[in-house]
């Protein structure tokens, strides 16, 4: 409880009365619209997931029991999509948190032009996903016209057709490029709040840079790293635009993640029931992460 947050105690009786009435009235509109925004689609998704419902085939409608789920778990595409979702998630997390931590330490040290370098480094985060994906796919990764291909041929290597040979790795590269600045930005803020005296004391006691990093910086960062991992997980579980504009889930189902599978079921095959069952799986997955994220934020919240 902070000192500025108990105004009611200093108010006279009638004013306190007034704020008791006004307060909830001001919060109510936000609560109501958010409640509707959450509950209505959630209930509908659950409902549809137990229904036979295809937009192009109006003859078959009705209660489906667990058929949609049964179909989902027997569909090899579903398991591939879960696997792809997981690979994408873990790979991007390892790359962004690993490099992000190192870069945060580097950008905390004084060097000429640091502020400009930092601004350049975090820029990719502000690029819209469709632009990131198409720039990488066409200008950088194109086997004939791209920069990587040109570099490879300068070195005498055969050019790589990234989206044909390593499609998932190509998507991972793009998504990592978008999220590394986020990790860097958050972790840099956390590094900067590190107590200098503590580091100074460690240095005096003869701790080298590596020891300082592993025994002081890293433990200090653990909380921030946890937050970065959880927030990124929420977004990475449902990466969509990058896949939509580069591979459309292909070749075959090589880059189909859960989000793209649900999209394809719903808006390409018009299978509302099946897509909803997939949606429920996505919601459950996200909620497992959300539980831990909300708990760790709650610990920090002072009202």
């Amino acid at each position: 409880m902070s000192t500025t947050s108990t105004p009611d105690a200093t108010l006279s009786g009638s004013e306190a009365e007034a704020t008791r009435k006004v307060g909830p009235l001001l919060v109510m509109p936000s609560v109501i619209v958010l409640l509707a925004w959450m509950i209505v689609p959630l209930v509908m998704t659950l409902w549809f997931s137990f229904q036979y419902y295809n937009l192009v085939d109006p003859t078959t409608r009705g209660f489906a029991g667990i058929d949609n789920y049964a179909y989902l778990v027997t569909d090899p595409d579903f398991w591939v999509s879960l696997e792809n979702t997981l690979i994408l998630l873990v790979a991007v997390l390892v790359i962004t948190v690993g490099l992000g931590t190192l870069l945060a330490v580097v950008f905390n040290l004084p060097f000429p032009g640091r502020n400009i370098a930092r601004v350049l480094a975090i820029s990719p985060f502000f690029v819209m996903p469709t632009v990131s994906a198409l720039i990488w796919k066409n200008l950088l990764m194109h086997p004939i016209y791209g920069v990587f291909g040109a570099l490879a041929s300068t070195l005498g290597l055969p050019p790589v057709d990234w989206f044909a040979q390593f499609p998932l790795a190509a998507v991972i590269a793009i998504v990592s490029w978008e999220w590394l600045p986020f990790a860097l930005l958050i972790l840099l803020t956390a590094v900067q709040s590190l107590d200098h005296e503590q580091r100074e004391a460690a240095r005096m006691d003869g701790a080298g840079p590596l020891a300082q990093f592993f025994f002081i910086t890293l433990p200090h960062l653990s909380r921030a790293i946890g937050v970065v991992i959880m927030i990124e997980t929420i977004f990475l579980l449902t990466v969509f635009a990058e896949i939509f504009v580069t591979t459309s889930g292909g070749p075959g189902n090589a880059t189909t993640n859960l989000a793209f599978l649900i999209y394809a079921r719903a808006l390409l095959q018009y299978d509302i029931g099946g897509a909803s069952a997939g949606g429920v799986v996505a919601i459950v997955l996200a909620n497992i992460v959300a539980f831990f994220l909300v708990r760790s934020i709650a610990r920090r919240l002072e009202v």
Partner: protein, 271 residues
């Protein structure tokens, strides 16, 4: 902090190395946007710069309508979210009750609902209500999508206003509405501005709902850029010119709001 010359040299090399590598795709995009289509397909540094690609993109009569859609939808979504959030954040920061903490955390948890999980019902509801491919539909979605973040950020800023100032205002007879309008808003204007800025950035770059709920009429720039993905339409220079124009304004906004961004994106969990 003191650093040895070696540390300085290493951090200079690694810091600038990383910065240049990370920025390279953006720089290359800007460079390519000034090439002709013929030059754009050969990754050379030397070429005769031209504005042809920009001219071509503008010549597509609909470019301006996509840009306008982006502006209207982002600003609309942000203003709508602020209208709902300002009173709520004010009440929770200055007149907290035993429910405030729970309400804040619950609002945060609504942000955790993956959009793809509710794609089907939202699409069907929009179809029924005639909101598919409409700006007002996206404005609503974006406002709701950002409302929890906006409330949280405003709440954080309001908490930093010393209560004595409001007390003095009340002594002078300011009512709640006047208190918000004449005291709080001017005091927290920087906070409201950076909250709005973050919301604008998030709306501008949003590419799930805009791709799924719009086709032509209300499609913003994210969807316009996506239309370059067809294999028949590989025009590198025009793609780069259109992308540069779509990214530039928000990149500048982003540079100015890095600090507040951390607070907004982590819900105050990292300081």
């Amino acid at each position: 902090m003191r650093a040895t010359p070696l540390q300085r040299l290493l951090s200079f090399i690694f810091g600038w190395g990383a910065a240049l590598l990370l920025f390279f795709p953006i720089a290359w995009m800007v460079l390519t946007s000034f090439k002709s289509e013929r030059d754009a397909t050969s990754p050379g540094l030397f070429f005769a710069p031209s504005l042809d690609s920009y001219r071509d993109v503008f010549a597509r009569a609909d470019y301006l309508s996509f840009a306008l859609n982006s502006v209207v939808i982002s600003v609309g979504g942000t203003v709508l979210a602020l209208l709902f959030a300002i009173p709520a954040a004010y009440a929770m920061a200055f007149h907290p009750t035993h429910r405030t903490r729970g309400t804040l955390l619950w609002m945060l948890s609504t942000k955790m609902l993956p959009p793809v999980g509710v794609l089907v019902p939202i699409y069907l509801l929009f179809r029924t209500a005639g909101l598919l491919d409409s700006r007002s539909g996206l404005v609503m979605i974006y406002a709701l999508m950002n409302l929890p973040i906006v409330v949280w950020m405003l709440f954080t800023f309001y908490k930093e206003v010393p209560n004595e100032i409001l007390e003095a205002g009340r002594m002078d007879g300011a009512k709640t509405a006047g208190e918000v309008w004449f005291l709080l808003l001017p005091l927290t204007l920087p906070g409201v501005a950076s909250t709005g800025l973050l919301s604008l950035i998030l709306c501008w770059n949003e590419a799930f709902w805009s791709l799924n709920l719009t086709s032509a009429g209300a499609a913003p720039l994210t969807a316009f850029i996506a239309s370059f993905s067809s294999p028949e339409g590989l025009f590198f220079a025009k793609l780069s010119a259109a992308s540069t124009m779509a990214v530039a304004p928000i990149l500048v906004f982003g540079w100015f709001s890095q600090r507040q961004l951390v607070q907004g994106l982590t819900f105050g969990a990292v300081k």
